[in-house]
């Protein structure tokens, strides 16, 4: 047997290795259909949003200054948001936790928060979803961690899992809050 015969076998082994790496990564939550954000380490978009509840406090990008902020886009019509909701309240004493109701009727979003509890320190309304597009949002819920200088440092473009919060989000918050 001469060595060129082994080339297809070698290629096959390389292919298996490639599949193996992808499978392991998928097991760790890195899905091939995830769309990676391009905004990491870039300044957060400039915006100013009205409060969800009339008379409440709105939110603008100037409010990022000096505080580590987690921006969470949610909607009352979004079923995965319901699953994520209980995970958010424990974060409120670690970051400035801002909820943005994405394309949601204010009365619906308000009723949703009244029913499940409001984990946010500030809730703003993005009625036409225009600010969300500046964040590169393509679904709800999505969350963005913004540092004291107003730069986006982390994005999670699906519902949080306890694991993600424990191993990625909290350590990063601790680091940025130093």
């Amino acid at each position: 047997m001469r060595w060129p015969v082994l080339i297809p076998l070698a290629l096959f082994v390389v292919l298996l290795g490639f599949f193996g790496v992808r499978l392991v990564k998928m097991n760790q939550g890195d899905m091939p259909d995830d769309i990676k954000t391009v905004l990491i380490d870039k300044p957060a978009p400039q915006f100013s949003l009205p409060p969800l509840i009339e008379g409440g406090q709105g939110f603008s990008s100037a409010d990022f200054k000096g505080k580590v902020t987690l921006v969470n886009f949610f909607a009352s019509w979004c079923v995965p948001c319901r699953g994520e909701h209980p995970l958010l309240a424990p974060l409120a004493d670690k970051v400035q936790l801002v909820g943005i109701a994405y394309k949601n009727k204010p009365e619906d979003a308000t009723a949703w928060l009244a029913g499940l509890g409001n984990p946010y320190q500030v809730v703003a309304a993005d009625l036409d979803g225009r600010v969300a597009i500046d964040f590169g949002l393509y679904g709800v819920p999505e969350s963005y961690l913004i540092d004291r200088e107003g730069r986006i440092r982390y994005a999670w473009k699906k519902p949080f899992s306890p694991d993600e919060i424990q191993h990625k989000l909290l350590p990063l918050i601790a680091e940025l809050s130093k």
Partner: protein, 154 residues
Amino acid sequence: MKKLLIAVLAGILASSAFAVQPDEMLKDPALEARAREVSRDLRCLVCQNQSIDDSDAPLAHDLRVLLRQRLAAGDSDEQARKFLVDRYGDYVLLKPPLKKTTLVLWFGPAILLLAGIGAAFAVYRQRKLKPVADVLSAEEKARLDRLLKDESAS
């Protein structure tokens, strides 16, 4: 037959135009045509394999409207495209741009094809050059004789 073909084609064209609602279209037909052209090459991020021009997803609608606002405000096609790439990355383009990180994507298949042709050619040449014995060995001759004898006996 020709008429039928035209009718079918018209049907296909009409059905693909359904996603764009009349109320989102621009009044200026030239600008609207540009918007259609640009949006055909922009990926709907919800459905991922449709352009925003084809998609009924609410986000695709929002992006179409936004794109038209940008064009109406005087953006060039390139500027409008860049506006979305800045937010969603190259992924939003259905045609990936040619740059360092996409070289393998663009030229990988052609290189693999050439490598395959090269390999096939090498194997073919090797086979052809292999000397083929044109005389039968003693063993083969004996077997042939035996077979021929069997043939004549039956």
